[in-house]
Each structure stands twice: as structure tokens, then as C-alpha cells.
Amino acid sequence: MPTDRRRFCLLVDDDELVCMVFSRAFAGQKEFLLDIAMTVKDALDKIAVAMYDVVFLDMRMDAGFNAGMDVLREIARLKIQARLTKFPGPNTFVVIMSGSIDFREVMQEANKLGAIAFVDKPSDFSVDFVRDIVNQIGLPLMPKHT
């Protein structure tokens, strides 16, 4: 049943430009709270503390070619743990934003990780692109930010 509570989103990306575009897209949005992690360690710390509704994840970060995989595995582990203990755990939906080469590794483990969304990161990363992604995962329409 639809609820009116705010959506808690986490962006995991080491690219400052991407973080800036996301911040602009989410600025002034009453339905959302955006948190940003620029390193894998930071992301793991945040995931351990808070239950995010959506995680936008870049697979390729400074820590390694597939550093995002650690974050993905940790989210899956927390989900399974919550299911086993019947404790209300995170119902996190992961959106992987990367070049298509990086998807191959995830596909091998996709069965264990639940539903994961993929989107190619375009070269002209814009506020409209972010808004389009958010709209496509069924979250409330974000009006143009002026």
C-alpha cells in the first residue's frame, strides 16, 4: 500500500561531478533525503547504521575496478540476515550506474543479490537524467528545480 514517508537515498560514487548533479537534483525535494558516500568504506559504514530505500551505486571507484561489489554484497548480507532473524531489515533497492563492461561481474552473482536495476551512465550526466532514473523506479515525480 502506498505510504507517504520520505525516501532515504544513498549515492555511492567517487566522482565529484556526479555527486554535485545528484545534490542539485535532490535539492529542495520534500519526498527525499539524499546521503552521499564517496568511498567504499564510507558507504559500508553508512549502510551498517541506516536503512536506505534506494542505493545508487557506481561499480568502478578508486578503491578498485569492482569496488562497488563489496557494497552490493553487504546489502545482500543484511537483507538475508534480516530475513533469517525476522527483524525488520533494509528493503534496499539498488540501482547500479556504470559502463556496461562493469555489469558482467554483477550478473554472475545477480541471483543471490535479489532485484537490481542497471543503467548506463551517460557522458553528459545531467539533472534531467537523475530525475528520469528516479521517475522510472516509480518514485514521485520530481518537479523541475529552479
Binding site: M1, P2, T3, D53, V54, R83, N91, F93, V95, S100, F103, R104, M107, Q108, A110, N111, G114, A115, I116, A117, F118, V119, D120, D132, I133, N135, Q136, I137, G138, L139
Partner: protein
């Protein structure tokens, strides 16, 4: 000890979800009857209304109609073409519809990822995965 007040609220919320007037409209594009039946049953258990088509032509016909689908589950191997054609059609005609690709072959999925945001459900999938998609879309479901 079981809390009777909590149980009563749970009962009330379950009934409220059952009688909720809004139902999720879901399109299933799948040629194998048994798999379509399984997915349809899972979705109906989550209070969704399903429309099933068997091929690309059927999907085109339905997408030209008045239905507004919130989610489309698309199988990649269809008899008259690829599921990625259906994804392209959905992107052209129903921008707000969330696409879920269902496949057992990671390589086929890789080829179909060029059409914007797509969720991937690898076979064999869990019931929870279907529920996760509906939860994320804020659609009425049985939880």
C-alpha cells in the same frame, strides 16, 4: 506473549490492503505457459492485476491500447524476436513503466541493457525478488 492488540491491527491492515481500490497493473511478456502462470500467480498474490502476452506482436498491440502499466516483466527469448525489442517499445510508448528483464542467461541480459533503467531478475528467482520490485514501486501488495 502474543500481543492481542498488535494482532488486531495486523488483521485490520491486511483487510485494508486486500480491499484497497488501487491495483498495480503489470504486463507479462512470456512465451512459456508454465513460467507465465507462475509469475502471474506470484503477482496476483501481491494483489496485482496482470496482462499476459506471448510475443513482441502481442506486446505491441497491448502497448498501443489504453492500459497504463506500472511494471512490465519481459522475458528475453521470444518466438518472434528479442525481449529487448519489447523494452524499446515500452520506452517509446510508456516512459513511466518500470521494466524487469527475466532471463537465465547473463550474456543475453548484457545485450539488452542499452535502453535506460532496467531491473534484472535472474532465473531461478525468489518470491521475495518479485515483492521487492513491487515494494520499490510503492504499489499495493500484501505486506
Amino acid at each position: 506473549m502474543r500481543n492481542p492488540f498488535k494482532a488486531w491491527w495486523r488483521w485490520v491492515f491486511e483487510r485494508a490492503a486486500f480491499y484497497h481500490p488501487v491495483r498495480a497493473e503489470v504486463l507479462i511478456v512470456e512465451d512459456v505457459d508454465s513460467e507465465a502462470e507462475l509469475l502471474s500467480t506470484l503477482l496476483r498474490n501481491q494483489r496485482a492485476v496482470t496482462t499476459r502476452v506471448r510475443n513482441v506482436a502481442g506486446a505491441l498491440e497491448v502497448l498501443n491500447g489504453p492500459n497504463r502499466f506500472q511494471v512490465a516483466f519481459v522475458d528475453l527469448g521470444l518466438p518472434d524476436g528479442s525481449g529487448s525489442e519489447v523494452v524499446r517499445l515500452i520506452r517509446d510508448r510508456r516512459r513511466g513503466t518500470h521494466v524487469v528483464l527475466v532471463s537465465g542467461d547473463p550474456e543475453k541480459v548484457m545485450l539488452a541493457l542499452g535502453h535506460g533503467l532496467v531491473t534484472v531478475m535472474m532465473k531461478p528467482y525468489a518470491v521475495n525478488t518479485v515483492r521487492e520490485v513491487l515494494t520499490m514501486m510503492r504499489l499495493p501488495h500484501s505486506d
